[in-house]
Symmetry: C2
């Protein structure tokens, strides 16, 4: 980068040997998490602060910088910075084009701004892409060269690893796996598309299905759990009902599993991957209810030659995936 004079090549070489840490950042709409990581993905120190996104981009950035300064007092030992952001990013130029949960963060030159502050190379990626990288290097996908990570929570996102590398697409936007159509005449998704995996199988879809069934007079333990007020339905309550054996709740998860399974079939036919890693609250907390239908649907509908040997497993790293992926990005982008 730019802060060293041309004459200090010798010192730089020594310096590089000492630079064994990276600073990883998970820039969320509600929380900013910062970690100091070693080369093996161990988190040495971590800090988290509320994003307070409504205060504006510069206030968020100032708090981010202060938190990064607080995570280590020896920046001479930091090789690089990796940052995951929600939304569309240019991973080559390190620009955050748009982050819906961070109002005003539009065309924000995050890489340049961080490098100006810390005089260390910075690398920016989409949060779901980085979670894919984290799971591949340190989680459920260790040792697998090709995998697709799908996170299912309030939305559905994803990241594609092909041949040990993130598949980024022409502009870095690839892997929006939640926005493939599965029902051409289905409901409109927030993204503008119709009948997307996200609008059919993410958390809000499950809650909507439960509310509609209750309003239509369907018997369910959810009536008692919500004091007979369908508007009080939450994902946690549907999960609780499913655990207690409630038929409606189990049907709702099976239906979600069917759509997720069909989504994986389409992904398999397009990408020919080896492993699907499913993360996010809906996948992890309801695994016992959705996984059987996901696997059954995949086995029933994927082409035999293309489904052979392909595995579907839960993510292992939870919220850490994105943070560890950011650490991977910082470490590996530099050694390329």
């Amino acid at each position: 980068m730019s802060w060293r004079s041309k004459g200090d090549d010798g010192r730089r070489t020594n310096d590089e040997g000492r630079r064994s840490f990276v600073v990883a950042v998970d820039l969320g709409g509600t929380q900013i998490r910062v970690a100091l990581c070693d080369a093996r993905g161990n988190i040495v120190k971590r800090l988290a602060i509320p994003a307070r996104a409504t205060e504006g981009v510069e206030a968020v950035f100032a708090r981010l910088v202060a938190t990064m300064r607080a995570v280590t007092d020896d920046w001479s030992r930091v090789r690089g910075i990796g940052l995951g952001a929600p939304g569309t990013t240019d991973p080559w130029r390190g620009i955050i084009f748009e982050a819906p949960n961070l109002p005003g963060m539009i065309d924000f030159p995050m890489k340049a701004r961080l490098e100006d502050e810390f005089h260390v190379p910075a690398f920016i990626g989409n949060d779901a892409n980085l979670a894919a990288l984290g799971e591949q290097r340190f989680g459920a996908g260790r040792g697998v060269a090709n995998l697709i990570y799908v996170t299912i929570s309030t939305g559905v996102g994803g990241g594609i690893i092909a041949n040990n590398r993130l598949f980024l697409g022409a502009r870095g936007f690839a892997g929006e796996v939640g926005h493939q159509t599965l029902e051409a005449n289905g409901p409109r998704c927030n993204c503008g598309n119709v009948g997307c995996l996200e609008v059919l199988a993410a958390g809000p879809a499950l809650e909507r299905a439960a509310r509609e069934a209750l309003r239509a007079g369907r018997a369910s333990q959810l009536r008692a759990l919500t004091d007979d007020d369908p508007s009080r339905v939450t994902g946690a309550l549907i999960t609780q009902a499913a655990r207690a054996g409630d038929a409606l709740a189990r049907e709702i998860f099976a239906r979600a599993g069917f759509y997720i399974g069909l989504g994986l079939v389409s992904l398999q036919h397009n990408f020919d991957t080896e492993l699907f890693v499913l993360g996010g609250g809906v996948a992890i907390h309801t695994w016992e209810f959705i996984y059987p239908t996901i696997q059954k649907t995949f086995d029933e509908y994927a082409m035999p030659s293309m489904r052979r040997g392909v595995r579907i497993v839960p993510a292992e790293l939870g919220d850490e995936a994105g943070l560890l992926g950011a650490a991977v990005l910082a470490g590996e982008s530099m050694s390329q």
Copy 2:
């Protein structure tokens, strides 16, 4: 490869300079086409023979070899062989796992068999993948690093070029773009999946839609064109009716265009490409009727950030795409 002794490195260097041709093969279920091509993709000589697939694999292979011998009498000037096969292939080991239109061609070691015959490196690929490569190098995708080729005829196939290379997936099966679900409750496809792009928008789907409408009593010029016998409906007749302004025929193409457009939206969200090249009989012969709906659907349903600047164009090379792609494969695999 294996046929030169270790001592002739000097001769090999001279030899390579003279080796300016490749032999490209398009191994179809009905026809085998062989071409001698120069490095710029010009076809110097071409031959075609019927495949006569029912005579069995060894008979087909013997005719293939004889035709390749006939395309040039100076094999010392041939650098390599590229062959496109219909079906699933292992592009690294050059094995044809299964080619539905070539009965008995199962786990066939095409690369090894051709190298044994011709003592020249041979490279094998899926036919739609090679057509994508042909269009990218010599056709509608010249100069574009990222594109998705979709061929729509009796089936829907495809090939994905990412960063100037074929995207092959873990085992070389990627790009089965015709087999992504668009209607979870739609008809079952031959591939085993439900509501695939292929079962909704390929030629047979259009004919089925026309027949069903006629049987349901719908007025259409197709009645006269088929002597009021719905079983006589063909794609050519639907196209003829559409040209004459027939409302039913135009509706059928618009419906196909809607599904194709939705398929491209899903592909765009997954792959973030720059260009869609549409080939195959249905796309090319009915472009004027399907393209407007394809483009309209893409514009309406793809995320604004992801559709910006993305173009949808007809293929330029027709039947030549696969043959030229095989030539590219032979030439470039060797120089890597």
